[in-house]
């Protein structure tokens, strides 16, 4: 029966003949592991296509909806975070494998006559890959995509004469907006894939016509006599490679907990843009081409490099494929590669030292976590940025200004009856308090606690332990916590401060769950409680604040600390457990266990 159906289909379509024609390619000189990269790229392209198609069914290309739809995909769907992660890291994998493929083709001399057009179509495919990377980066419409893409479109603008018009055409207007996103979306999901498939078809057809280019030392007779069938000899190797790549990509997705989604693009912020790693060398190059030389970095050098790649098969006409006979071209290609690597390393090195970038990364993480938290209650149709309009932080700030700032200074603003709240609750703040409670920044002469005479490192250990009792401490250091616990519990602290049991009273504040939401809430409601300052208290009780006002105020207090991710809405605590596939693991609480 099945046989008959098979025959019927075969009779009408010639399917198995077609399949045979596709798979029965003779591999002259034998199947080789060195031939896996081209088919590896085809595999990655298919992977990008299917993950992309599934993501497209959740994506909404508009400046008000894009971030929300990606947020939904990432945090609200099953496996959305994984699929998006595979697509994200898959693009990096494609870049890497494409570079390897290109250099292998170069080293093997596979661009030489009669394969000039193989090479040229390959260079065009590489350009398409770059186009995919560039257009895809913008689509989530988050801070980093938005600002990094601005750099790219501004570079377009530096092209003499026509630059301005190209830029407007790409942006869909003079500034970023709905049409920027619809255009980038069109490029990313329609134009580029269609063009890529077209050139890929040519590329593969040409490859089939000319066959593989083996290792240059392979003897003529081996090349002539040893013929392996493509299926299964070569395909086996290709499948092993594809499986290996997918395992690595999936591993990276799990390890990094999926691709990052920063907070919604805010045109009013001043964000230091950084492109994806494979464009970093171009970005770094621009730093050395300032002022009127800008065009050297944006247009001239890239254009020269590309021209070189395009004309390479025509200038290197020597028929020998031995590297020793092609030294000038090896020199040119590898100095280009070295230049790009050096520029990339420089850019990364510079960023890892730049305090503004480090600070911005921390802020961006916090902000992203905040955005995700707020988006949970739904994003107003006015756009993703509006989630911040109803942010309890804003309300908390208002309450602080009304009720607290008279005694607690922040920055230069505020009174000095109580401790200075600049960076309140941060490691620096707590360590400073331990070092000298009588400091003008803290309790001044009314400070009853004696300064702790221990080395700074020990103070930091104690700080780490104290802060570890509340949620949301970023980059928590478990060793410090252990050492600090030892110091606090076995030292003199517990003579005055109860710790471990919430209800115990001694002469100084109970430090159980110190600075947690509950602790702060109870403290602010009644600082004169015997569990806190008791009779020595000077701060008024703020029991008139409603629960939601108090929650907002505490969120605001948390936000003052640079060491804390904002964990609000306590009902979430129970739910945040990570269940494979069902929830995205990249919630704010996970910032804790990065050390």
């Amino acid at each position: 029966m099945a046989n008959k159906l098979g025959e019927w289909i075969e009779d009408r379509t010639g399917l198995s003949k077609l399949l045979k024609a596709a798979l029965d390619e003779p591999v002259h000189g034998g199947a080789k592991w060195s031939y896996i990269f081209g088919s590896g790229l085809v595999f990655l392209f298919v992977l990008q296509a299917v993950t992309g198609i599934f993501m497209a069914s959740y994506y909404s290309p508009s400046s008000t909806a894009a971030w929300g739809s990606v947020y939904y995909l990432q945090y609200k769907t099953s496996f959305g975070w994984f699929v998006r992660g595979v697509h994200h890291y898959g693009s990096s994998a494609m870049m890497i494998v494409a570079m390897v493929h290109m250099f292998q083709v170069f080293i093997f001399g596979a661009y030489k006559k009669p394969r000039e057009l193989n090479w040229i179509s390959g260079v065009i495919l590489l350009l398409f890959l770059a186009g995919f990377g560039l257009t895809g980066y913008l689509l989530p419409w988050d801070q980093k995509g938005y600002w990094a893409t601005q750099v790219a479109t501004n570079i377009m603008g530096t092209v003499p004469v026509i630059g301005k018009y190209i830029k407007i055409l790409h942006q869909g207007g003079a500034d970023y907006g709905n049409f920027t996103i619809t255009r980038f979306y069109t490029l990313h999901v329609f134009l580029l894939p269609i063009s890529l498939v077209f050139f890929l078809f040519i590329h593969i057809a040409l490859f089939r016509k000319h066959g593989v280019t083996p290792y240059w030392k392979m003897r003529e007779d081996v090349l002539r006599d040893r013929i392996d069938p493509f299926w299964p000899d070569q395909i086996f190797k290709d499948i092993v490679f594809a499986l290996g790549m997918y395992a690595v990509i999936a591993g990276v997705v799990f390890w990094t907990r999926g691709a990052e989604l920063q907070s919604p693009a805010d045109p009013a912020s001043n964000y230091l843009a950084r492109p994806e790693w494979y464009f970093l060398f171009l970005f770094e190059l621009l730093k050395y081409c300032q002022g009127k030389y800008l065009i050297v970095g944006t247009v001239i050098i890239p254009a020269l490099a590309l021209t070189f790649l395009f004309v390479l098969p025509f200038i290197d006409r020597n028929t020998s494929r031995y590297p020793s006979k092609r030294m000038p071209y090896f020199g040119a290609i590898f100095s280009g590669l070295t230049g790009a690597v050096v520029l990339t390393v420089l850019a990364m090195h510079h960023d890892s030292k730049d305090i503004h970038i480090i600070h911005q990364r921390e802020e961006a993480e916090k902000q992203a976590a905040r955005a995700v938290k707020l988006a949970e209650k739904g994003i107003p149709p006015t756009g993703a940025l509006s989630i911040f309009l109803h942010d309890p932080l804003a309300l908390g700030g208002k309450i602080f200004k009304e009720s607290c700032i008279g005694c607690h200074k922040i920055g230069v603003e505020g009174g000095d009856n109580g401790p200075d709240f600049t960076n309140f609750g941060s490691r620096e703040w707590i360590a400073g308090l331990l070092k000298n409670p009588k400091d003008v920044k803290y309790f001044k002469e009314s400070g009853a606690m004696p300064p702790i005479k221990l080395p700074d490192e020990s103070l930091l250990d104690m700080t780490e332990f104290l802060l570890s009792q509340s949620e949301g401490l970023i980059h928590q250091n478990a060793e410090r916590v252990e050492r600090g616990k030892e110091l606090v519990l076995k030292g003199n602290c517990v003579v005055c401060h109860p710790i471990g049991n919430k209800d115990l009273k001694k002469i100084a504040p109970n430090l159980t769950e110190y600075l947690s939401e509950t602790w702060l809430k109870e403290f602010i409601r009644n600082p004169g409680d015997p569990r806190f300052y008791g009779t020595r208290n000077k701060m008024p009780a703020f029991d008139r604040l409603t629960d939601s006002q108090l929650d907002a105020l505490i969120q605001y207090l948390f936000s003052l600390s640079k060491d804390r991710a904002l964990v609000s809405e306590k009902q979430e605590k129970g739910k945040r457990g990570y269940v494979f596939g069902l929830t995205s693991p990249r919630t704010m609480i996970t910032f804790q266990d990065k050390s």
Binding site: F82, P232, G581
Partner: protein, 163 residues
């Protein structure tokens, strides 16, 4: 012969590895694709919707009220959307009846006839008494109603479920 066996073996291994790879890729994609089966994507955020203070409803005279609610649509929240309207009847003992405005016959909007003291359907002359019971016309049953309750003097209605 050895070569043939080797190729046979390679074919089997390639098929299995290819199958593992395809399954590994397809599983999360299917998981993502069936998301609307697993989770509600469009839903009202409240079960009971506030229609206003009890004292704003006159005793014994049905009053037509718009039902507004907030709705989640995937990532978006829409506040204050008009979902529809209902007839609210406050009885002498302050108990409430909340009727659907749609005739149980073919769904036309019914009106309260002030003179007749009856609900009248303009489409096929259906007539219902103040408690929603069919008096005449083609309607197969009494007016649909909604579960309702009073909390802190607020009239709340569960607009999700017709009774």
């Amino acid at each position: 012969m050895v070569e043939n066996n080797r190729r046979k073996f390679l074919k089997v291994v390639s098929h299995s590895l290819g199958g593992v790879l395809a399954a590994g890729i397809a599983a999360p994609l299917v998981g993502l694709g069936i998301h609307p089966w697993l989770k509600e994507t469009v839903y009202g955020t409240e079960d009971f919707i506030n229609l206003g203070k009890l004292e704003d409803f006159p005793v014994g005279i049905p009053k037509k009220m718009n039902v507004t609610s907030s709705k989640m649509d995937a990532w978006n929240v829409f506040e204050g959307l008009v979902m529809g309207s209902v007839w609210v009847l406050r009885k002498e003992d302050d108990s409430l009846k909340v009727f659907s405005v749609n005739c149980p016959h073919l769904g036309c909007g019914i009106n309260w006839g002030e003179d007749e003291k009856q609900f009248l359907c303009p489409c096929h002359e259906g007539v219902f008494d103040i408690n929603g019971k069919v008096l005449s016309g083609p309607a197969p049953r009494s007016l649909y109603s909604y579960e309702t309750k009073i909390e802190n003097d607020n009239v709340l209605v569960n607009y999700k479920k017709l009774i």
